[in-house]
């Protein structure tokens, strides 16, 4: 009994907390590991779809990590990619059907990008790098942390693009309320267009790497 008690870690030990917090900061999956950009940027023209996308990806990463980590001893290594794809696809179908039932407008806005969560490299990356070698609970935290780290970037990009592109936030006309239009302010239509999302992410990376000098690439 006492041996068992010793082996058990508290649910939120410092190691587990780090699993959750490091992807939000230094090990951010988008800016550091360059994962999951594919389905990310196209949904950030407005805050609302960006937020829904962030939640969906967090859900799929966390739940998928739990499933893969509980199955990790039974999955034959040779066919693990297919098994992982099936798990992801099943979870994404759940998310897709849920969005269609409860948030139809957002689901229409996201169009094919809900389906593209399947090929979001963050999820596969976390399965391979973490869930295949760790217990379910740390895997859950790892998935949650990475999903949130990804969502954070989406929401930052979505915030700036909606604020400066359409002058609203979550549909609420901020710029109009501030009375900026009367003194000659105009929305920057460029922000709505796809290329601006890339440039914004570039700037976020720039800021992050000037804060943590050791992350700078030498080449």
């Amino acid at each position: 009994m006492s041996v068992e008690a010793k082996e058990r870690e508290p649910l939120f030990s410092s190691k587990n907390k780090k699993l959750l917090s490091s992807p939000l900061n230094r090990e951010n999956p988008i800016t550091m590991q360059v994962l999951g950009i594919c389905s990310a940027l196209a949904v950030t023209a407005k805050l609302e779809p960006a937020f829904v996308m962030a939640i969906s990806v967090t859900f799929v990463t966390a739940m998928g990590n739990v499933v893969i980590s509980s199955l990790r001893k039974t999955i034959p290594p040779r066919i693990r990619i297919i098994v992982q794809l099936v798990v992801i696809a099943a979870l994404v179908i759940v998310v897709d059907q849920f969005l269609k039932a409860f948030a139809y407008n957002v689901s229409k806005q996201l169009s094919v990008f809900v389906g593209l969560i399947i090929t979001n490299c963050i999820i596969m990356g976390r399965f391979e790098a973490f869930a295949m070698a760790n217990k379910p609970w740390p895997s859950f935290l790892d998935g949650l942390g990475n999903g949130l780290g990804y969502g954070m970037i989406l929401i930052i990009v979505g915030f700036f693009r909606e604020l400066f592109g359409s002058g609203t936030l979550w549909g609420y006309p901020v710029m109009e309320q501030l009375g900026l239009y009367k003194i000659g302010y105009a929305n920057n239509g460029m922000m709505i267009l796809p290329p601006m999302a890339l440039i914004l992410v570039g700037v976020i990376i720039w800021i992050q790497r000037s804060r943590y000098r050791e992350l700078i690439e030498n080449k």
Binding site: T31, V34, L35, G36, I37, C38, S39, A40, L41, A42, I81, I82, L85, V86, A89, A90, V92, I93, D96, Q97, S111, V112, G115, L116, I118, T119, N120, C121, M124, L193, P194, P195, M196, A197, L198, I199, V201, G202, V203, I205, W206, R209, S210, R213, I216, E217, N218, K219
Partner: protein, 205 residues
């Protein structure tokens, strides 16, 4: 015929996979360090998109869509298997990639050598699944149209990755601010290339 050409050109320039939809960004950023490897990956993508989009089109038409099973008999006329789309498409893509790899390995060792490591990577390239899902959403009318769309988007992707690789090769000699080196500047350049590609948007075909 004119329709096919217009779909083809549109999917290369106007609806470019990378600059308009950011699909396949992961491998685009990871493999674009030299022109040679990026040409290899680009050709592999054209190849796989050209095969999987028509195959998925047929599946969508005769298996998944609402009423698609009516060829089995009147009992199946109102079966809608649409919710299975994702799982079927990704399974088709994964197995197609495997199949293409095996065929190339057998009949063209030279091509296999040059595509080598890139083929398996493609199964999880967003551009491939994205191509299949866009094909479903845009409701193309025939297999020929779906093929034109698939090959066109592949070529658009090839164009983008070769372009960025060439720029990155040249950029080695330029003085980029230290925190922006590598990933950061690549993002910003892709954005600028995207702005350049946007001039095609005004063209009506």
């Amino acid at each position: 015929m004119q329709d096919l050409i217009s779909i083809f050109v549109k999917s290369i320039f106007i609806d470019n996979m990378i600059f308009a939809y950011f699909l396949g960004m992961c491998s685009y950023l990871a493999v674009s360090k030299t022109v040679k490897t990026s040409v290899g990956l680009g050709i592999a993508v054209v190849f796989v998109l050209g095969i999987t989009v028509p195959v998925n089109y047929l599946l969508n038409e005769y298996l998944l869509g609402a009423g698609a099973l009516s060829w089995l008999g009147p009992d199946f006329a109102d079966v809608d298997l649409n919710f299975l789309t994702f799982i079927v498409f990704i399974a088709v893509i994964a197995s197609m990639v495997q199949l293409v790899e095996m065929i190339i390995e057998k009949y063209s060792p030279a091509l296999n050598y040059s595509l080598g490591i890139f083929l398996p990577l493609i199964a999880v390239n967003c551009a491939i699944l994205g191509g299949a899902l866009f094909m479903q959403e845009r409701e193309y009318q025939s297999v020929a149209e779906a093929t034109a769309f698939g090959v066109g988007s592949g070529i658009g992707w090839l164009l983008a990755i070769v372009g960025i690789a060439a720029i990155r090769e040249k950029m080695r000699y330029s003085n980029v601010p230290a925190p922006l080196k590598g990933l950061g500047i690549t993002f910003i350049i892709t954005g600028l290339m995207g702005i350049a590609f946007m001039m095609f948007m005004g063209i009506k075909i």
